[in-house]
């Protein structure tokens, strides 16, 4: 089998499962609730389709999307997989390739998972508000979701390789970090989900605003911090791929 076929098989194995189906159902329910109950009102009085509200929506769903991804990661480190790995490693497949394959599978699964709430939100905007300028949401989707994902993917792979139980501990941790206001608990720079920046921007831009349309600008500091998370995530992933496992 070539690499593409292996990857296809890996993705299939992940997404065609009861476990993934249930999680997607929960994600759909959660997204529907967020859109109809919270997004519809608009974030802090902005339009429901404003950049602010959309970023708020991304923040709402990202904790669940990330938790689902970590759940899917547990597949790589469960007992069944570990037993299978012993057989796999006896075949001519290097460990680095094995993990790269798994990571690629997770990346594709993440994209597919994240597309569920995103597509739902686009349909919702089109149907309810006849709004279709979705292109402007692109940068918020990219800068808020992807660095968080890569960083947590890296952390998850390192933890999973150490012990699968730690991965289960990471799930509530990621969920709580994504859904709680952490600005008074964590240092401001430790902004994994981008909430601190979003909250500070709200204080600076939306409080006492003098016009209806306030654009949501991503500062260069924020972009750098997101790049740092991507960089850290990649380092952790490289470490996972190349660190030799104990026999």
């Amino acid at each position: 089998m070539n690499n593409i076929n292996l990857l296809k098989y890996e993705i299939k194995r992940m997404i065609i499962s009861k476990k993934y189906l249930y999680m997607i159902l929960i994600l759909i329910a959660f997204t529907y609730d967020s859109l109809t109950r919270l997004v519809i009102g608009g974030y802090y009085g902005t339009a429901p389709f404003s950049e602010w509200t959309y970023t708020f929506f991304i923040q709402l769903i990202s904790s669940l999307v990330m938790s689902i991804m970590i759940f899917m990661m547990t597949n790589i480190f469960n007992e069944k997989e570990l037993r299978a790995r012993k057989i796999l490693f006896s075949a001519p497949i290097p460990q680095s390739k094995y993990y790269m394959l798994k990571i690629a599978g997770l990346v594709v699964t993440f994209i597919l998972t994240a597309l569920v709430p995103i597509i739902m939100s686009f349909i919702y905007y089109k149907v309810l508000f006849d709004y279709s300028q979705f292109i402007i949401f692109g940068k918020y989707i990219i800068w808020f979701l992807i660095p968080t994902f890569i960083f947590l993917l890296g952390v998850g792979m390192v933890l999973g390789k150490t012990s699968s139980k730690l991965l289960y501990g990471l799930i509530p941790m990621a969920f709580l970090l994504g859904s709680m206001n952490t600005s008074s608990i964590l240092p401001l720079w430790l902004d994994i989900f981008g909430q601190h920046f979003f909250e500070m921007s709200t204080f600076a831009e939306l409080f006492g605003r003098t016009s209806q349309n306030i654009s949501f600008d991503l500062s260069s500091d924020f972009i750098y911090s997101r790049l740092v998370f991507i960089f850290l995530g990649i380092i952790l992933l490289v470490y996972t791929c190349f660190k030799r496992e104990k026999e």
Binding site: K18, K19, Y22, M23, I26, F30, I40, G41, G42, Y44, G45, T46, A47, P48, S50, S67, I68, F71, T74, N78, E79, L128, F129, K165, Y168, G169, I171, P172, F175, L176, S179, N181, S184, I185, L206, F207, G208, R209, T210, S211, Q212
Partner: protein
């Protein structure tokens, strides 16, 4: 028993449980400071006591520990499946039984975590903060809030695991229930950490304790139900769900357990006894053909049972109506209603009673009723307009504890009657206290009052009463002796005197020589302040902050401007606002027509007081906040695109309208008044206000009349 001991030992060896207990202890310890970590400005610098420390610790700790113990439970139950040892163990021992023993072992460690967490926080309170420990608060918080949260988490996730046979699905579903609990306003759903923000140092836990216990009762049923259903569907041998169910269903005990849990949870939810949907009294409900001229309440408070009973006599002048509607409190049941001395039939619907009246000019209605006052469904612990507990009574007029007639208020309403309460309580009555009588264990507080409104409340507590003498008047100040030190150190009485002096000099004399101003401290279960006739209530946070605040008074030349100054200014501004209502609201009845209302005038004068006492720097902060909020709301999408409002649900639409109304009344109107002051000049403006007050004392004042008297136009007061 041996199996249980064995399981406990096995878990101990895994070390994970020790880590879990340690994390729980760290979480409760962090929680000690959770009030200052929140965004709740009112609760910053609240004085630490057993009630605040124990509750803060438990609230924060429960949210972390419940989720972690849930995770541990599901990992423990899934262990054999992961290790593929389920069948081997099942051939030696009843696997069903082992699961239950494993859950019991986890519960054992939850008890240990609760005890150690409690001891850790007690030790910190005692040895680090040197605050005396009231063990009651610890026992209540740890065993009614903290431990049940962990227990529910374990039972729910176990049930879900047995039902789904999947670690992931069960844990994710627990996560969904967990989030729902954290975000719900309904106290029945908040199974993790309750929906309180704080436990009152003034009134104790009792006013809200019963709702916490009720929540626990409901969730015992729900978690047992989920667990029972899980046992019903627990996979047997290699069978699937359906086949396993047919085997499990043979257990009669299990069926009885599930049936009891279904009935129990359903009944507990439906028959919830403490809350109701509070009806707002809208202007258009008022029958203009009838006016209220007299109100005679004779009320007895049974603080042990948390009940009231008694009767209220209403006098009306009727100009052609055949019925009178009253808004009621659903917790109070009517014994009888008499119209002009004769008992009659009446229509009672949810929150309302309609009484049919003869075609006569003078109508006298007597309503005899009693029961437990219900509070607002979404306001438990945060915005309770009415409660009666052993140590305090707090009944605002908007709880409809005295059934509110939906009629016009006469120019002069004679109010007289009595409140009977246990002797150990000091009752703050509206109007003037005529006298007191002792009747067995009860003390009767007889009062009389003459007013153009009938918004009377009832407030009582274990107060210490202080008379603040000012010129030729006395202000009665009622507060808890526990907060005396703060009141004295922060010179609250001096500030109250200054406020009175400022208002008398700039508005006019206090509206009455007969009815003294009464200021009463109340619990934080209703935030902020309130003015009912000549009684002002202020929530305890204004009289019970940390000792560190004393430096604000002692060290006048402090260069450092911290959050504590903002908190103190906000407290004083609120007290000044409520006192200003004695002039605007009680003295002059300001006819509300948004943005015009008594709130705007009270805000304006509290601002002026802060400006005169502390200078422009402090007062300008309030002004900039108001301007900021008004601008913000002016730029709200839905308020500018009203055609889109039909897309949002009614609840949200109403909350948006309420937000807008509040912004207009509390922020826009004082800004407009400051604009008027800018146009006329401060001296002229205040002179004009003095004239308005003099001319409209005991009368209604509309916005048009105000503008005319002040020689101002609406355009001049416009805020861009």
């Amino acid at each position: 028993m041996d199996l249980l001991k064995n399981e406990i030992k096995l878990m101990f060896k895994s070390k994970l449980i020790m880590l879990l207990i340690l994390v729980s202890c760290v979480a409760v310890t962090i929680g000690i400071n959770s009030l200052n970590m929140s965004n709740d400005f009112d609760l910053f610098y609240i004085r630490r006591s057993s009630s605040t420390i124990a509750f803060g610790a438990v609230k924060f700790g429960a949210s972390i520990s419940a989720l972690l113990f849930g995770l541990f439970t599901v990992l423990a139950l899934d262990k054999d499946k992961r290790k593929r040892s389920k069948e081997i163990i099942g051939s030696n021992i009843d696997y069903h039984k082992l699961m239950i023993i494993r859950i019991l072992a986890i519960v054992f460690y939850e008890v240990i975590a609760t005890i150690i967490g409690m001891m850790a926080v007690i030790a910190i309170q005692k040895f680090v903060f040197s605050i005396p420990v009231n063990i009651f608060y610890y026992l209540f918080n740890y065993w009614i809030i903290f431990f049940p949260s962990l227990l529910f988490s374990t039972l729910i996730v176990s049930g879900l695991y047995l039902l789904t046979d999947s670690l992931d699905i069960s844990f994710i579903t627990l996560g969904v229930l967990f989030v729902k609990s954290l975000t719900s306003n309904n106290y029945l759903f908040t199974w993790v950490q309750t929906n309180l923000d704080i436990i009152s140092d003034f009134a104790g836990i009792q006013p809200v304790g019963k709702t916490i216990i009720y929540n626990r009762l409901l969730w015992i049923f729900i978690s047992v139900l989920i667990f029972g259903v899980g046992l019903l569907f627990k996979r047997r041998y290699e069978f699937h769900l359906k086949e396993s169910f047919f085997i499990n269903v043979k257990s009669r005990a299990l069926i009885i357990l599930v049936v009891i849990a279904v009935l129990g949870s359903g009944f507990t939810y439906i028959k919830e006894p403490y809350t109701m949907e509070l009806i707002r009294n809208m202007e258009n409900d008022i029958d203009e053909n009838i006016s209220l001229t007299g109100l005679r309440p004779e009320i007895v408070f049974d603080n042990e049972k948390g009940e009231i009973y008694g009767r209220v006599l209403y006098d009306f002048i009727n100009k052609g109506s055949d019925s009178i509607k009253f808004h009621t409190n659903e917790g109070l049941s009517i014994d009888y209603i008499k119209v002009n001395g004769e008992e009659i039939e009446y229509n009672r619907t949810k929150g309302e009673v309609e009484v049919f009246i003869p075609n006569m000019k003078e109508i006298e209605i007597m309503i005899s009723y009693g029961g437990k006052v219900k509070t607002d469904k979404n306001g438990v612990g945060r915005g309770m307009p009415g409660y009666i507990s052993k140590d305090s009574i707090y009944l605002l007029e908007n709880s409809n504890w005295i059934f509110r007639p939906l009629v016009k208020e006469g120019d002069s309403i004679n109010i007289s009657g009595y409140y009977s309460a246990p002797e150990y309580l000091t009752v703050v009555v509206p109007g003037r206290l005529i006298g007191t009588e002792i009747e067995g264990q009860l003390k009767k507080w007889i009062f009389e009052y003459n007013s153009h409104t009938a918004d009377i409340g009832a407030f009582a507590g274990r107060y210490e009463k202080h008379e603040i003498s000012f010129e030729d008047m006395n202000i009665e100040f009622y507060y808890s002796p526990r907060h005396k030190e703060y009141v004295q150190n922060m010179k609250i009485e001096e500030y109250i005197k200054d406020m009175m002096k400022y208002y008398i000099e700039n508005i006019g004399d206090y509206y009455s020589d007969i009815y003294p101003l009464k200021i009463a401290e109340v619990a934080l279960y209703k935030r902020g302040g309130h003015s009912s006739e000549n009684v002002i209530t202020i929530s305890e946070n204004m009289l019970n902050r940390d000792k560190n605040m004393y430096s604000l008074i002692e060290d006048e030349n402090t260069q450092y401007r911290g959050m504590d100054i903002d908190v103190f200014m906000s407290d004083l501004s609120l007290i000044a606002h409520e006192i200003a209502h004695q002039w605007w609201g009680t003295g002059v009845k300001v006819v509300e027509d948004s943005p015009w209302s008594s709130e705007g005038l009270a805000q304006y004068f509290s601002y002026k007081y802060i400006q005169s006492e502390f200078g422009d720097m402090e007062s300008s902060l309030f002004l900039s906040r108001w301007e900021s909020r008004v601008r913000e709301l002016n730029n709200y999408y839905y308020l500018n695109n009203s055609e889109m409002l039909d897309k949002i649900n009614e609840k949200y639409r109403k909350s948006l309208e309420m937000e807008k109304l509040q912004s207009e009344l509390y922020y826009l109107m004082p800004i407009k008044l400051l604009k008027g002051e800018e146009v006329l000049g401060e001296k002229e403006f205040l002179k004009g206000i003095e004239k308005v007050y003099k001319n409209y004392l005991y009368k209604d004042l509309t916005y048009e009349e105000f503008l005319k008297e002040m020689n101002l136009s609406e355009e001049a007061m416009e805020f861009e």
